[in-house]
Symmetry: C2
Amino acid sequence: MTTGVRRRMGVEERRRQLIGVALELFSQRSPDDVSIDEIAASAGISRPLVYHYFPGKLSLYEAALRRAAEDLAERFTEPRQGPLGARLLRVMGRFFDFVEEHGPGFSALMRGGPAAGSSAASALVEGVREAAKVQILSHLDAQDPPPRLELVVRSWVSLAESTALIWLEDRAVPRAELELKLVGDFAALVAVAAAQDPGMAGVLGRLLAEEHGTGPLHTLLGSLSAFTAPRDTEGGADGVDRTGGEAAVGGVSARGGVDAEDATAEGASL
Amino acid sequence: MTTGVRRRMGVEERRRQLIGVALELFSQRSPDDVSIDEIAASAGISRPLVYHYFPGKLSLYEAALRRAAEDLAERFTEPRQGPLGARLLRVMGRFFDFVEEHGPGFSALMRGGPAAGSSAASALVEGVREAAKVQILSHLDAQDPPPRLELVVRSWVSLAESTALIWLEDRAVPRAELELKLVGDFAALVAVAAAQDPGMAGVLGRLLAEEHGTGPLHTLLGSLSAFTAPRDTEGGADGVDRTGGEAAVGGVSARGGVDAEDATAEGASL
């Protein structure tokens, strides 16, 4: 009996080890380019033994994907404390940590990797998106969200995915700037929906309610106010005050770092 | 010689017919659920004859996808006349026409259909995204776009895709509202990037330059100004004026239809 229990433990441990080895290799190269031989060599076991634990590469890939999906979904959990913008910014930091850690494996999956057509892989990806949506809605105290709010949250999740994928290509824009951008994007998408629907205006109010003049959303909206402030509509094609827009970015450094205090000092107050 | 030419023409015609039949069936049910037998029956030919023109279902699916991709890419072409917001709104109308016409086929492809893992299908989808990006950049007169602009355009394209996919699920929000929302989303994403980067502020200026107080972006930004206008930062957690936000949506009907004239009359001027 005792050996039986120990043997079962051994199987689970070996599977965990192989999943870890696979994820490590998938973080360096696309899963398409990683062979079972390499996984066996990295794990220090024979190729047939890998097949003993996983009947094929797809089953190992799906198991690795499952662990990565659980890992990512956990990173969405955030204490319900402080301004919503700051909470979302911390989640974005952990999301980009994940993206950076998994690099090629993340890209391959989202762009259509070896198991992209498999229903198990699709279900795992959808499960992570659902987890992200549920977390955001819970922070907005929207357990039974109206269709427009659900749409904004879900489409923003896809925006975060595509932003991360584009970042991975050449990292041309610093990730800290993109993390902040996605927080701003979320508020902006809610704001656009609020301009169309009174119900969404209440959500926007909740999103901004605890910014206290220092949160990331405060700074962003301060900058935007230069563009949206009432102007003379008779100005024609040149009615847009580009100077005002340029001045508004004064509180935001060209590096993408935002100094909320500076923005406040410059009158970009909310 | 003449018959040879005619036979070749006949092959192309038959292939076109089968592609048309397949697209028609894929617009009603997911390609996964459409058999070669059905396609043969709808085309009025035998199953072996279908295989004569297309060696397998995947090759017929990919040919159908190619035609649909060309069709969609053509709909992005828009004369370089009038405000950019109005141009983008017309493109969104044609995009949703396409989405509505192809329904289940579009969903299946974008969510991981039978050929989703095929490199030909991925390349076709990427080609359409690229065509959309090139069109938008050309309207912004940005032939050699900086990384931040390229990122905003590409990530917005993915936002348009996901918005259309969510709409197809239950059509809970009217498509006209979503077409307008996506135009506003584009401006909003540019605006968020403009708050981080001086170069993007110039793009935002160009986007708004020809709105003349009547375009869809004008109305949107007018509504947003109520949220972004300077307020007393000493107000603490309740410093956000929800009433002001609610009032701002006055120029926008709850149905999602926007009356630019009304918005102007109500002082939501740019």
